[in-house]
């Protein structure tokens, strides 16, 4: 940009016209105001059909990402759209092709599908409800387990989410939802239902527990009658039908091993890295969730390797970990998947380079009963590693935030 002096500096004029200072706003927001705003956002976010401004392809990028091609898709409240996690559409299509195998209903293979035993085990534990209203299908299946998970159904415009949770949490959920509106009771598929009204045409219905789980359905479908119509089109189906209804972007258990292999290609693996542990899990995954899980496992392994090397005085091994993490921005899954989470790897890589890994608490959570918990260590939270802690601390029990080892 030209450095030639101008008589009028437009950015200075802009700055003079700035309508709001974050610092001034912050000073004017009391703790109670902030708590109310936090509770409001959580309440909005917990409504599954909360409209997501699906410009996520750009919004989900980490700062400084140089990739191109993001398209803000817009979409107002009326459209009630829920964005997919992380991956851009092109990436989804490309990766999905890796996981779709012949033999899916309607797929290239045509015939009867053959599902892995692991997939069948997941399905057998599941209520396996499908929306049977014309035009509706599953558009999203996030990572889930036999006793917890979530499917999103859509007819191309409207959406309905079906969650399942452990039966032991049913009472807890009932109490929570009772605070939303006065519950209405009914019967669906032989189960007692409890429906609450979130307002603005948004409803949620819980079915009484069935085996080890209970179902909760939520949606904003244009009014109560429309909601009831789709709700009452839910039908239990057999294992093959249920698995066959999963969208192609889903990584099924039988495809998981190959998917993990694909995601690990081009990534330097830390000593002792156990890919089999990732490959052997039974759960059905959303692709972006699996990509993050794979990336986290590698990054966590490298940091643990670095810690061990430093403790043992093995400078070469420590340097190897530093270099591996420094190159994380070039790992294929990081370059391909537009997931801002991956920028965390760069942050930790800088800490390793500086020899100052943040091993203190990431922060503190104060509960209204006066108890305060430290959560950490920061580096594990940053990378999504296992082994994080939540420790109760005194009001002044702050921990050091950085440990240079």
């Amino acid at each position: 940009m030209s450095r030639k002096r101008q008589n009028i500096d437009p950015l200075a004029a802009m700055a003079a016209a700035n309508p709001a200072s974050a610092a001034e706003l912050e000073a004017g927001i009391g703790q109670a105001d902030l708590d109310r705003a936090l509770a409001r956002s959580v309440a909005l976010g917990r409504v599954p059909s909360q409209p997501v401004p699906a410009g996520d392809r750009a919004a989900l990028r980490p700062g400084g990402d140089r990739r191109r091609g993001a398209v803000g898709r817009g979409g107002g409240r009326e459209r009630r759209r829920r964005a997919t996690l992380g991956l851009g559409l092109a990436a989804v299509a490309a990766v999905a092709a890796l996981f779709v195998i012949g033999g899916w209903p309607g797929g290239a293979g045509g015939g009867r599908p053959e599902f892995a035993a692991a997939a069948i085990r997941v399905a057998e534990e599941n209520p396996r409800l499908l929306v049977t209203a014309p035009g509706w299908k599953i558009v999203r299946a996030d990572e889930f387990e036999p006793d917890s998970g979530e499917l999103t159904f859509s007819d191309g415009g409207r959406r309905l989410d079906v969650h399942w949770y452990p039966a032991r949490q049913y009472g807890q959920y009932l109490r929570d939802r009772a605070s939303v509106s006065t519950p209405e009771h009914g019967v669906l598929l032989g189960q007692r239902t409890t429906t609450v009204d979130y307002g603005r045409g948004e409803y949620a219905t819980m079915l009484s527990p069935q085996g080890s789980v209970f179902i909760e359905v939520r949606g904003l479908l244009g009014g109560r009658s429309a909601y009831d119509e789709i709700l009452h089109s839910l039908r239990p189906v057999d294992v093959e039908t249920w698995l066959g209804a999963m969208p192609p972007s889903t990584v099924r258990p039988e495809a998981r091993s190959e998917a993990v292999d694909q995601m690990l290609r081009g990534i330097p693996l830390p000593p002792g890295f156990d890919a089999a542990a990732l490959q052997g899990e039974d759960s059905i995954s959303d692709q972006s969730s699996l990509a993050v899980k794979v990336g986290n496992a590698v990054a966590c392994g490298w940091v643990e390797s670095w810690i061990a090397a430093r403790a043992a005085g093995d400078q070469a091994a420590a340097e190897q970990a530093v270099e591996a993490m420094a190159g994380s921005a070039d790992w294929p899954i990081v370059r391909t998947a537009e997931v801002p989470w991956f920028s965390n790897y760069t942050m930790v890589a800088k800490q390793l380079r500086a020899g100052r890994l943040d091993r203190g608490a990431a922060g503190y959570v104060a509960q209204t009963n006066g108890r305060t918990f430290a959560i950490g260590p920061a580096w594990k939270l940053t990378l999504g590693c296992e082994g994080t802690y939540r420790r109760e601390v005194g009001r002044e029990g702050l921990e050091p935030s950085t440990d240079g080892l």
Binding site: M1, M14, L38, G45, G64, V339
Partner: protein, 201 residues
């Protein structure tokens, strides 16, 4: 406040711990950046109440993505907020125009020596600013009002840093031209340190 806001606070098994970590990550992000996101919305919407709605919706999206909040989330948050604001503008329910707001605020903050000068500067700036395309205005807002550097602003808009620099250069040039044409009072160029986009480019 975690135990009160998230009544489904899970048990202490591995899955529950992962969810708890995400809840904590969300709350930290919220408390650290709510004011910045609210300010971002206030700068683009006609009134405080609408901006608070936009901030709430932005963090509702973040809540749904709370397991994937990056360690340095502000550009990511602004990217979400930008699209929430766009939805708000498209809703058709807000009749007050941003230009009205801008004129009012510019007049109140122009640091002019007297009310006559302030009015003059406000009107001149507003006229010049409104002659830009929305895309040009947004490029300038991200840098001059939100304080982002080139790479951060580019990530908000989903373009490359190089492309953003070109767009910023053009927007600055056009705004300067319109300011001159509208009789805006000359301003001294600030030091380079107060020009984050150029510092980073």
């Amino acid at each position: 406040m975690v135990g009160d806001i998230y009544p489904q606070m899970p048990p202490t098994d591995d899955r529950g711990r992962a969810v708890a970590d995400a809840d904590f990550r969300f709350e930290s992000c919220f408390r650290d950046h709510y004011a910045a996101v609210l300010a971002f919305a206030v700068r683009r919407l006609p009134d405080r109440a609408t901006a608070e709605d936009a901030a709430a919706e932005t963090f509702a999206v973040v809540w749904q993505r709370r397991g994937l909040i990056p360690a340095e989330p502000l550009p990511w948050l602004y990217g979400i907020a930008l699209r929430v604001v766009a939805n708000q503008r498209r809703s058709g329910k807000r009749r007050q125009r941003l230009s009205d707001r801008l004129e009012h605020e510019a007049g109140a903050r122009a640091d002019a020596p007297g009310p006559v000068d302030a009015l003059h500067r406000r009107d001149a700036f507003s006229r010049a600013f409104q002659r830009l395309s929305e895309g040009e205005r947004e490029v300038l807002r991200l840098v001059a009002w939100d304080g982002l550097d080139t790479r951060e602003a580019a990530s908000v808009l989903g373009c490359s840093a190089a492309a953003f620099r070109v767009r910023l250069h053009r927007a600055r040039r056009r705004l300067a031209k319109h300011l001159e044409a509208s009789g805006h009072s000359p301003l001294e160029r600030p030091t380079r340190a107060s020009d984050p986009a150029e510092e980073a480019s």
